[in-house]
Symmetry: C3
Subunit: 258 residues, 3 copies
Amino acid sequence: MSGQIQLEIDGPLARVILSHPGKFNAMSCAMWGALKNVFDDLQQRRDLRCVTLQGKGGHFCAGGDISEYAGFRFDADKLRHFHEVQVWGGLNAILQCDLPVIAQIEGNCMGAGLELASCCDIRIAGQSAQFGAPIAKLGFAMAPREAALVGRAVGDLTAREILLEAAVLNAALMQQRGFLNVVVPDVEVADTVLQRMRRLQGLAPQAARSHKQTLRALAAPSPAIERLVETAYDYANSAEHREGIEAFVAKRKPVFLS
Amino acid sequence: MSGQIQLEIDGPLARVILSHPGKFNAMSCAMWGALKNVFDDLQQRRDLRCVTLQGKGGHFCAGGDISEYAGFRFDADKLRHFHEVQVWGGLNAILQCDLPVIAQIEGNCMGAGLELASCCDIRIAGQSAQFGAPIAKLGFAMAPREAALVGRAVGDLTAREILLEAAVLNAALMQQRGFLNVVVPDVEVADTVLQRMRRLQGLAPQAARSHKQTLRALAAPSPAIERLVETAYDYANSAEHREGIEAFVAKRKPVFLS
Amino acid sequence: MSGQIQLEIDGPLARVILSHPGKFNAMSCAMWGALKNVFDDLQQRRDLRCVTLQGKGGHFCAGGDISEYAGFRFDADKLRHFHEVQVWGGLNAILQCDLPVIAQIEGNCMGAGLELASCCDIRIAGQSAQFGAPIAKLGFAMAPREAALVGRAVGDLTAREILLEAAVLNAALMQQRGFLNVVVPDVEVADTVLQRMRRLQGLAPQAARSHKQTLRALAAPSPAIERLVETAYDYANSAEHREGIEAFVAKRKPVFLS
């Protein structure tokens, strides 16, 4: 098993749990597909009031499962399928969900983890959580739709710091930058989220669906981003991309020529 | 009298004062109409340099006048007229005003109050001011244009917290979230605003008009929001909407079925 | 010489230095043209990884060179040429640069300086830096494209405070408002920037170019702003504009009639 998505339902409250033991819940291709299915199902139900997205074992999600990358990243068609169908399929299923979605963020929230958190409505983090997307070290750029999603959620300044500098930011700074609703001691994260789920439980569900629709329209992606998708994966077979991935797998420092 | 809008003019400085005694200046239908007329008139004058919007008696505005709601909210046409003509007429008259507008925020700044503050250029608050729009407890969603206006002013994170969680935020947090220019002790709010009005008084009026035009273009509503308006009031006669309003009027806790 | 733009290259690291001695590096027309040329050249090179924009002598840039203004500002065609060709030519050359650009901000960062900083990806400031664009005292508005650029970078609240109130904000506040990545003691600014340049040096250049393209698409100017450009310079020969410039040159307080 290369990781899984678990669903726990307790009355009107649902928990979607990222689980990839030993890899800080890094997202495998199978997990992206499962995530889409889980959220598509949640969207059909009328008995739920709130969903929490969380990771197993003290971490939210450390990124993509890089051990799978050599199998598809160097072919442009496969790379496009991965980002536009698998990754975006999973992220968009969260974005299209009409239930309020809370991110319970502990430990690593990196790369794909940052993208997943950016799809949530409310973000609660423990004080030792870490945020970033250091793919500039891996020799490739975040896909356009994913970068637009993260850019809107973290703000332009932080997006540039994370994407161009491969910066890793702590929870206090991400709160100050407007990405987190609240930061609490690590041991209080679960309780804080549960309190907020219980609060959401009593509110009007039709109003929530309508608000989610309006907020989604406010965040609608621009045509300028859509146009970038056309050529976004031409880099698949480039030397820089290969070097980044290969160096990471070999646990050596990459050398990027211009 | 179901509340009124007062206008005080002192040389180049105007004050628009929300007044609805005993209701924390909650906006009645009559007040929305009067507000539009007052700002339309201010926009015609060439002797003014600055407008301050404030509430009477230690509060800015606690929301809409819910005692009027049963009379029009459960009919889709009347509900549309209320939001698109009356409320938006008042809010848009402030947005279209070419004079700098300062919000002097004391006490309650909830619902319609938050929308009114979101139309202002400069926002000065007292430290005990409170911000929110707990309409998820009332069984209906903020109208699309109003939610887009508030979402732009408070930011996406705070908009989701206020609309989906019915959260009430204090002045210090709303300053950290980028909604308030400055927070001062309650007893200093009036003086702080007066100082800023006097400062504005000496600046170039043609430049101000031009800046307001540019800033208005930057905040132009998106077609995606406009499209939502078409179906936005279909909920008028729904059980959830009736339950929310009726429970509030009866001072009991609403029970929302899905 | 009415100021110059200096270029220093050290391996993969470039520094573009604003230099206008005795005027806190105020931008002359010649400097805008030179700035465009320098950034157009940097964009052609494939040996560079990072550019820092900085000012000489403890200041970033105090604005435009007002001593030149009487020569062109009161004629609408010349004024349009200045803003749309000279100023925007320089600013846009930075925006179109595919290398990460760091702003090293010391001392004055006013008017044109604020616009230049808004074009950069990463903004590092010393604690005594000052930010603003007090042109409301000079009797004219910031040109539409420039105001949209600054508005996006500083946020709507701060843009209104700076443009409508002619407010000057300190570094700590500009960090809280989300404009600055970090504020350090003045004596540490240069070292902090150098450390970040060295960090950028090792990251993937193709990924950086792709990220810059995506982030540029996210910040694409709206048609509403483009439309304003048509009439934006009609004020050239107005009494208010003349009074503002003439009072400044004569070192007296301007008197603006409505």
